[in-house]
Symmetry: C2
Subunit: 569 residues, 2 copies
Amino acid sequence: MAEKDDERTQEICTGAAICSVFTKLIKGFLHRDNTISEEDDMPAGKDALKGRSESLEAPDNIIGEESRNSFDFETAYARDLLPARNAPATTTLFLTKVVEILCDYVRKTYDRSEKVVDFHHPQDLKKFLDLEIPDERPETLEKILESCRETLKYGVKTGHPRFFNQLSSGMDVISLAGEWLTATANTNMFTYEIAPVFIVMEEMILKKMREIIGFPAKSGDGIFSPGGAISNLYAVNCARYKFVPDVKKKGLREAPKLVMYISEHSHYSLKRAAAIVGIGTDNVYAVKCDERGKMIPSDLERKIQIAKSKGETPFFVSASGGSTVYGAFDPLHDLADICQRHKMWLHVDCAWGGGVLLSKKYRKRLDGIERADSVTWNPHKLMGVILQCSCLLLKESNLLQRCNSMCADYLFQQDKNYDVSYDTGDKTIQCGRHVDVFKLWLMWRAKATVGFEAQINKCFDLAHYMTDKLKAREGFEMVVDEPELTNVCFWYLPPSIRDLPDGPDKRDRLAQVAPVVKARMMDRGMTMIGYQPLGDNVNFFRMVISNPAATTADIDYMIEEIERLGQDL
Amino acid sequence: MAEKDDERTQEICTGAAICSVFTKLIKGFLHRDNTISEEDDMPAGKDALKGRSESLEAPDNIIGEESRNSFDFETAYARDLLPARNAPATTTLFLTKVVEILCDYVRKTYDRSEKVVDFHHPQDLKKFLDLEIPDERPETLEKILESCRETLKYGVKTGHPRFFNQLSSGMDVISLAGEWLTATANTNMFTYEIAPVFIVMEEMILKKMREIIGFPAKSGDGIFSPGGAISNLYAVNCARYKFVPDVKKKGLREAPKLVMYISEHSHYSLKRAAAIVGIGTDNVYAVKCDERGKMIPSDLERKIQIAKSKGETPFFVSASGGSTVYGAFDPLHDLADICQRHKMWLHVDCAWGGGVLLSKKYRKRLDGIERADSVTWNPHKLMGVILQCSCLLLKESNLLQRCNSMCADYLFQQDKNYDVSYDTGDKTIQCGRHVDVFKLWLMWRAKATVGFEAQINKCFDLAHYMTDKLKAREGFEMVVDEPELTNVCFWYLPPSIRDLPDGPDKRDRLAQVAPVVKARMMDRGMTMIGYQPLGDNVNFFRMVISNPAATTADIDYMIEEIERLGQDL
């Protein structure tokens, strides 16, 4: 088999498919050699020159010599790359080497015979990895390449088909390409002037996402933010501004006592948002959930009444659209009715579950979302976009600008030569902002909405497969009987505790199973799953299926791995 | 010349330097073909299959056929890439093509005969770019590659040696490679479990940065955040927590009336932070600056006294370490004395100027920074790291955790198998957090501290060169006579207004020069510079030199371009 592969590889290269790509690439570089650098006045620490071989003085010539098989990175340094004189070919060779390492990692990521993680404790990792940052002596490019290899070797393959540990997983190749391009473009979303294409893409994608939610077509607002927690912070901040615009100037001391509502199962970032904006966590009321993790509207109603009777001002309800642990969807129409009645802001945090909107089969889970005032939706979760990619979407136009604007003239001049309403900097709580839209836009182009739908439906199919399998299997017990999203929450009961009578002793022993199994699983490194307690439920496993590369065989593998590692407990 | 290059290119490929790299690459992929995918159950929209040639059913075989010169991306789709069956070689070919486009862009970035920007107004851009997001029909891989080319074509080359528009510029190749790797690793900083290497790198780099600041070696805290504005928000939030820990729970309504101090020239994000945290912008007092833009300590002292006499609680002073427009450094020792006397928090916002700490020649600009309580320092500015890379550094240990922790059990389990103090998620105001440390770590390894020092000193040299040149040249006038950082602020006075008497008429006409010159400059697209008014000074140009690829010839070019475009005004 190996020999046969070698033959095929040979064919590929003589067949010139790859070579022709790289011939063009290098040609492009050499073509304009003389115009690249007007002077070589790039200074470097004097030690950077030590140890360079004579022949490196004109690295581009060396590459052309037939006698040399490859460029010698062991005697080259960062200073030999662009913008150094005559460095374009060296630069390409270096970046090509890096991409070789990255492509190797992509291949390993999808290779089930590879480990998901080669786990080491922090103190050990620090001992055997060479992490030192030099003051005087730069490392050679060969050492830099080695650092890249080592970093990936001891990392976690979050795109591996057997990584089920997190809401974000998978490695979409198009999205990855998009993020490489984003890094190369190396620009900033604050003004149209320096990010024209990305700005119009962002406007377009946000509009499309609002349409999918069902917000009115001609209005609305939105922003890409660095993660769901920040999107939720935006929502709380906008709602507060909407209710008490004066807070922006005068602060909260003179404002009415604002209180907000989340569910017991809401993401913790909403409570933290209350701490940050000065409302305080004591003024965040947790509404009870039913056994499936869904917020109970009558309890919300009751708690609003109590607050009002105390003279407090309820202003904000956050509903979950796919809760973090159970994957539960709160009853949006019921909550919207309550918010309408009490003139409160309805936020839907579907950071995790937002993707279901793209599935004709499952979008009913979010029925009523069109009645929300704001929505957090992270394409880097269920839609599988490379990290980070999170959006806040608002029903009302222009609210972000009014809420966050500080009118900094030096950055957002009003007398520029173009329509400055395209400058997004003054509506954010950031200043510089990373380009998060491109990788999503590119991926959406490449798979169309139907492609997202197919991959999301597949994750649901796998969650149903797993649920059925666990229910039928001795020793496993569901925490939530029928998952609403692709979280599958369950206990594994080793034989020793399986038949114990219910009670504190059984619970205590059960609580210790998941951590031990997880620790052993990390040591083996072939798969990963998360666990946690929640409310009265002691430690249980939470399987998250968001990687379309996973198959039923991977689900089977996980179940068997847990049994294998936990049966002696 | 072109023929000669062709010959050299030929040599390169037959010399096998590049080929050997890619032979290995493809070999790696084919080697494990059978273990890659256990089943091909990846669904796709049915239209995704339309138009695929028969021969594409087994794309990897095609590549091997000598009769084919290159893979046909026009009939291939995202679904033909990993995790599809037998797709590793197709995936490599596709990523290789993308990197070809990116390397071409890198070359153009450093090529002065290339435009910095091919500017078009938003409405025009939307017309001629194909931005459509399909619902039913995915685009071919060829179209995806075309989208990449188009996106870069109409973008702004922020690494071009003649781009002087922003505090962040340049394109460091090592840092770029680091960001490509970060995208490929596609993980999240919230737990050690899924980002072990990056977590220990972050700990190490933050420690090193604190040492460079001069904070005590054995304590301290810090975090990488999505930009300087968020780092400043962290600082205000931490300071507020330190002074009134109860705010976290009880909110600001019962707290004393907190007031904070910035200078007239402070970055607007500090005022916005006050709005976000519920202090309110009215409670942010702007301290006067001298003509060089440096905060006047006596004015701060006076304003603190006034506030205290009104029963307010001054708690926070933000000093600039390189202000955004003038590049001014506030007198840190004087401000630290005042903060010590009044028991206030001293924050130093050296997002822009922090890099000077790495230069023996210029670090005295930040004398006294070791007396600060918190520091914002953005390596993506003066140090030239790819966007985004910003740090908040704190003198006190463990403050972020106490301030921001919400103890979310489901994510930050305390019974894990490793030292959970390495989990950083509970000390941030984010949940998921992008890996921003790696590109900095890799770059630091590659150039050592002396390399940063050399590139930063070079930027200073260029700023001095420009200042001298402008002072000696008719028609130019300095706004700040001797810049303290690499911002060079100046007016250009066209002959028609040069000899007008000082007064409102001259000012009005001068105010219109920069916007017109800038608009014409964008149309030509060969260089870029910013402008703004500030205080009593009407629109002036702000040159920012942070790209080590720039040379004195580029400075000359800018001066001549402004004259060329503005002399008729």
